[in-house]
C-alpha cells in the first residue's frame, strides 16, 4: 500500500483515479460500517448508506475543502446518508451542497478535549448518570454533530422532543459537573 495521505487520495479520486477510491474505501469503510451499526439496527440501510457515501465521494471528491480530517468528513457524509435513508426518500443528488457544507469536522477542539476526558474523568461519570434517552440525544447532537432535525430522524422522535431532551441533559450535566452554579 502506498503512503498517500487521505487528502491526497481524495485529490486523485477527483481526477478519476479508481484505485485511489479503492484505497480510501479500504482505509475507512470498516470503521464507518461499525460506527453506522451503532446508530441503526438495519444492516440493509447501513450498507446502503455506506455505499452511497463512497459513490458520493467518487462524484464529489473535489469538494473536500482540504481542511480537517478526511475521516470526520466521511463520517459526516455517511451519517447523513443514513438519515436520508431513514427518512425513506433518499435525496436525488447523493451529495447536495447542503450535505457537503454541513459535513465539516464535527468536533471542535474544546469538545475534543472534553470528550477525551470522558472515559476516565468527571464527564464520563456525569454522562453515565443520565437516563439512556438523554444520552442518546447528546450523542446524536454533540458527537455526531447532527442538527436537531436530523437527530429527530435518527432517533425516531419528534424534533421538539430532541430539543427538550437536549435542554434537560445539558442542565443535568451542568448541575453534576459544576454544582452550585445556577443556570
Amino acid at each position: 500500500m502506498s503512503t498517500l495521505s487521505d487528502a491526497e487520495l481524495l485529490r486523485n479520486i477527483a481526477a478519476g483515479d479508481e484505485a485511489a477510491l479503492r484505497q480510501l474505501y479500504e482505509r475507512h469503510a470498516g470503521w464507518l460500517l461499525l460506527r453506522l451499526n451503532r446508530r441503526c439496527g438495519s444492516q440493509d440501510l447501513v450498507a446502503g448508506a455506506l455505499q452511497d457515501t463512497f459513490v458520493a465521494v467518487w462524484q464529489s471528491a473535489g469538494r473536500f475543502r482540504g481542511e480537517g480530517e478526511v475521516a470526520a468528513w466521511l463520517w459526516g457524509i455517511s451519517i447523513r446518508r443514513l438519515i436520508s435513508a431513514l427518512r425513506g426518500h433518499p435525496a436525488a443528488d447523493p451529495l447536495g451542497d447542503d450535505v457537503v457544507g454541513a459535513a465539516v469536522p464535527v468536533v471542535n477542539s474544546a469538545e475534543d478535549e472534553l470528550l477525551r476526558g470522558v472515559e476516565y474523568g468527571d464527564v464520563g461519570r456525569a454522562l453515565r448518570t443520565l437516563p439512556p434517552e438523554l444520552r442518546a440525544t447528546l450523542q446524536a447532537t454533540v458527537i455526531d454533530g447532527l442538527t436537531t432535525k436530523e437527530a429527530a430522524v435518527l432517533l425516531g422522535i419528534p424534533q421538539g422532543t430532541v430539543k427538550s431532551r437536549l435542554r434537560v441533559a445539558k442542565s443535568r450535566l451542568r448541575d453534576q459537573l459544576m454544582p452550585g452554579r445556577t443556570s
Binding site: G30, L33, F54, R116, V118
Partner: protein, 271 residues
C-alpha cells in the same frame, strides 16, 4: 495522543457492548487516530464490506444515460433497449445529422435560383432519414462479428434503431420543409422516396457496413435526382404517378428486406 484503544475496548465497541459515554469516547478518538481506525476496521465484517464495495464499483461505473433516453425509459422503454440505443449513439447523431441537413437546405436554398432550390430540397430531405439509420450502425460496426454471435435479436435492434432515428429525423426535416418558403408542396412529396431509401438502406446493411451503405444509398439517390433534373422533370416528383412509383419501389425494398431476413441475414450481420 495520550491513549489508544486496547483490544478489549475494540472488541466491545465492535460488538456494541459499550455504554454511550465510552462509545462516544471511542468514536471521538477514532476520528483523530488513523492507527486505531485501522485496528477497528479489521473488526468489521469483511464479506459485507466486499459486497458493499461491489455496489460502489457498479454505482460509480454504471454509464449515465443521456436525458432523451431517461425520458424514453420513463415512457416505458425497456432498460435493455435503452442500453442498445445508447451504444449506437443513435440519438445524438440523427439529431445532429438532421439539423445540419436542414440547415444546409435552408442556407443553400436561399443562395440558389428558384429552380435549384427545389432540387436541393428534393436531394437532401429523403436522404436524411436513410443516412441516419445507416449512421446508427456505424458505432457498433467494429464489433459486428462479436455481436453476430450473441443471441439478442438483430431484427429487434434494427427496429429499435430505425424507429428512434426516424422519430427524430422526420420531424426535423418536415419542419424545415414547412418553414422554408421555397419548398412549398414538396414538404410532403419527399416522404415516400424517403421510406424507399430507408428500407433500401436497411436491406443493404444486411450485406455491408454502415459507411458503405450510406455512400451507396446517397450516390443512388443523387443519380435519380440528377437524371430528373437533366430531363427538366424535377416537378414530376409530386405527381400521382411518381408517388405511386415510389410506393411500388418501397414495397419492393420491403420485400427484399424480408427475403434477406428469412434467409438469416439482418442489418448488422448473420441473424
Amino acid at each position: 495522543m495520550t491513549w489508544h484503544l486496547g483490544p478489549e475496548l475494540l472488541d466491545r465497541y465492535s460488538d456494541g457492548d459499550l455504554d454511550l459515554a465510552r462509545q462516544s469516547a471511542v468514536e471521538t478518538h477514532l476520528l483523530a487516530c488513523a492507527d486505531c481506525r485501522q485496528l477497528t476496521s479489521a473488526k468489521a465484517p469483511q464479506d459485507l464490506l466486499t459486497d458493499i464495495w461491489q455496489g460502489v464499483q457498479i454505482a460509480t461505473a454504471r454509464p449515465r444515460m443521456p436525458w432523451p433516453l431517461r425520458l424514453l425509459r420513463k415512457l416505458g422503454l425497456a432498460e435493455t433497449d435503452a442500453v442498445i440505443l445508447s451504444a449506437s449513439s443513435s440519438l445524438y447523431r440523427p439529431w445532429l445529422l438532421s439539423l445540419v441537413g436542414a440547415f444546409v437546405i435552408g442556407v443553400g436554398g436561399t443562395m440558389m435560383p428558384a429552380t435549384e432550390q427545389r432540387s436541393l430540397y428534393l436531394l437532401f430531405a429523403p436522404l436524411l432519414p436513410a443516412i441516419t439509420v445507416a449512421a446508427a450502425y456505424d458505432a457498433t460496426d467494429p464489433i459486428r462479428e462479436l455481436a453476430a454471435a450473441t443471441p439478442f435479436s438483430k431484427l429487434r435492434i434494427a427496429l429499435l434503431r430505425t424507429a428512434t432515428v426516424v422519430a427524430i429525423a422526420l420531424p426535423v426535416v418536415l419542419l424545415a420543409g414547412l418553414a422554408l418558403p421555397f419548398v412549398g408542396a414538396d414538404a410532403f412529396a419527399w416522404l415516400l422516396p424517403s421510406l424507399t431509401l430507408t428500407l433500401l438502406a436497411l436491406t443493404l446493411l444486411t450485406w455491408w457496413t454502415a459507411s458503405v451503405t450510406a455512400w451507396v444509398v446517397a450516390v443512388l439517390w443523387l443519380t435519380v435526382v440528377g437524371i430528373l433534373r437533366s430531363a427538366q422533370q424535377l416537378s414530376a416528383v409530386d405527381t400521382p404517378f411518381a408517388q405511386l412509383a415510389f410506393a411500388v419501389a418501397a414495397l419492393l425494398a420491403l420485400a427484399a428486406l424480408a427475403i434477406r431476413l428469412t434467409t438469416h441475414h439482418a442489418p448488422g450481420g448473420y441473424a
